[in-house]
């Protein structure tokens, strides 16, 4: 089959690889009908997250049709079922899964010793996302083996196009969880840093959860226009001061809730000296992440407020203003998304026409053009916001 394979920094190729096989009774194989490139795939494209090996298949936003099931899948899934694959692999049985903390499932990371070294404890296995999280082949491919398939799936009905359902795999529940974690109250202002695909979903989620005001921060006109279409007031950080504008829009109180949809690769700008310093330290490997957004959020958030972090961080961040964080009594909530905790509710909202996540797609191309699209998406060429690949 064809698959997008990681070969090194900025080197993803569309290779021909062997078809996946059932390795365990709980496996299923799907024929992929749609998959997408995620913003977090760019961290791997840039080789900022350790633990990728040449030959790894990329991709964690995938859906398709079940073509083969192992003997242990136990009637939960059968040939012909249409499923969206959550990016977090879950067993459904461990203590964490039972609590709904799916992204920290204790059994699915087959290389848990690596995660234990890096994080202290293991987290769930993820598709196409480094050997720290299991080194599972990803779904930017024609076929995908789904481990623990009896639990790791979201069954979706026929009659709704792929484009509306695909993002149940990651960005929609990710934006949703980010907003839910904010405990939004009807008087709240929710400020969202980053208007990439997750930011766009977080904006819609905050509106659906009843925020009084949603403010979106980015520097790309096309993304800001999409944010505005979703009901956000926008700030362009290249032409405006984020701090001043946020104060202005909240009568000097600061936003009650702040969401970081940027993560470890925040924009480097000469007018923001901390970003230059972070980038330099990152290059000589004394710091792995660039936490400019976290610093800004802690500084600007209203005392007693909540900071929600769906953006990906991988290792160590310097100079976080813990003094402000502590004295202002802020709460930080973060985590990889507990996808299946939210998808029943979100699928219902899609079915009822409350929301249609396909609004975010700007490019749809054949899988074989995937490598070029990584570059287009990274360079933000052609007003690219979200790429869907068709195998």
């Amino acid at each position: 089959m064809k698959a997008l394979v990681w070969h090194g920094k900025e080197d993803i190729r569309c290779d021909t690889v062997t078809d996946p096989e059932i390795q365990d009774p709980r496996d299923a194989i799907i024929k992929v009908t749609s998959c997408a490139i995620c913003g977090s795939d760019l961290h791997l494209f840039h080789n900022y997250i350790p633990g990728m090996l040449p030959g790894d298949i990329m991709g964690h936003e995938t859906m398709g049709e079940v073509v083969e099931v192992g003997s242990g899948v136990d009637g939960k899934l059968k040939k012909g079922d249409r499923i969206v694959v959550p990016f977090t692999i879950i067993c459904g049985e461990c203590d964490q899964c039972k609590r709904g903390n799916f992204s920290v499932c204790e059994t699915t990371n087959r290389k848990s010793h690596l995660a234990e070294k890096a994080f202290g404890h293991t987290t769930a296995g993820l598709f196409g996302y480094t050997h720290l999280t299991g080194g599972y082949p990803g779904g930017q491919a024609e076929y995908l083996r789904v481990p623990f398939a009896d639990a790791t799936h979201i069954k979706v009905p026929a009659g709704i196009p792929d484009e509306q359902l695909l993002f149940l795999s990651d960005i929609f529940p990710t934006g949703w969880q980010a907003a839910v974690q904010c405990d939004i109250e009807p008087t709240d202002t929710v400020a969202i840093w980053g208007c990439g695909p997750v930011g766009q979903m977080a904006i819609r989620s905050a509106i659906l959860l009843g925020a009084n005001q949603v403010i979106a921060i980015d520097c790309l006109p096309e993304r800001l226009s999409m944010a505005e279409a979703g009901g956000a007031t926008t700030i362009n950080f290249e032409s405006e001061s984020v701090l001043e504008r946020l104060e202005e829009l909240t009568d000097g109180r600061g936003p009650e809730k702040c969401i970081d949809c940027v993560g470890m690769e925040s924009h480097v700008m000469a007018s923001l000296p901390d970003t230059l310093l972070d980038r330099a330290k990152q290059m000589v490997m004394v710091e792995s992440d660039r936490p400019h957004v976290l610093r800004e959020m802690i500084y600007v958030c209203r005392p007693g407020g909540i900071i929600s972090v769906p953006g990906v961080y991988s290792g160590f961040s310097d100079m976080l203003p813990m003094g402000a964080f502590m004295n202002k009594g802020l709460t930080m909530r973060t985590g990889q998304t507990h996808v299946n905790r939210w998808t029943d509710d979100l699928l219902r909202r899609i079915e009822e026409g409350e929301i249609d996540p396909s609004f975010v797609i700007t490019h749809t191309v054949p899988l074989s053009q995937g490598p070029e699209m990584y570059q287009v998406f990274r360079d933000k060429r052609d007003s690219c916001v979200k790429v869907v690949l068709k195998p």
Partner: protein, 180 residues
């Protein structure tokens, strides 16, 4: 076809049968080569400045050579990173400094002026490569003033934003009513 990466595959996971084309361009490879060259030269200058000054008949300038070594290493690391373009431009600037320093040593009474001439020739050649690589690896981000598609109609709410807001308000009102 043998693929090295297949050795580390977990048993049963897909293995590469035939590699697809890489998008790495010749200029990316040149940038990489220059990056490693820069790091290598920098290490020599930093750890063995005396050897450098003796070869050039410029004894007494070891501190300067050391500083140049640090500069080479940093520019090299940058040329090997995602920001290779900035690294290569830093190298072009560095080549200018190298040339200036060498010229200052090119005096009539320097017995090693032959070596200096040779070094100048080398710096000139490398500078041309640096310049070419820097030109060819310009970031392909669209310029700030580029015309962009805007997406003012993509609300994502098939029933409109107002309906989404109203629904949310009703749910909130319900919740409050439930609490009291």
């Amino acid at each position: 076809m043998f693929h090295f990466s297949n050795i580390v595959r977990t048993k049963g996971d897909p293995k590469i049968l035939a590699g697809g084309p890489s998008l790495k361009r010749p200029e990316d490879r040149l940038a990489r080569a220059l990056g490693w060259f820069s790091v290598g030269l920098g290490v020599v200058e930093f750890f063995a400045p005396r050897r450098v000054t003796e070869t050039l008949g410029m004894e007494g300038h070891e501190t300067l050579v050391r500083a140049f070594g640090v500069r080479e290493i940093l520019a090299g690391i940058m040329s090997l990173s995602v920001e290779k373009n900035a690294g290569l431009w830093a190298r072009v600037g560095g080549d200018g400094l190298d040339a200036a320093a060498l010229l200052s040593g090119l005096t009539a009474d320097n017995p090693k002026k032959g070596n200096i001439a040779l070094a100048l020739l080398m710096v000139g050649g490398i500078a041309m490569l640096d310049y070419r690589a820097a030109q060819d690896t310009k970031p392909r981000r669209p310029p700030r003033d580029a015309r962009r598609k805007l997406y003012p109609n993509r609300s994502g709410f098939p029933k409109g934003i107002e309906s989404a807001r109203t629904a949310a308000k009703q749910i909130a009102a319900h919740a409050t009513a439930g609490r009291t």
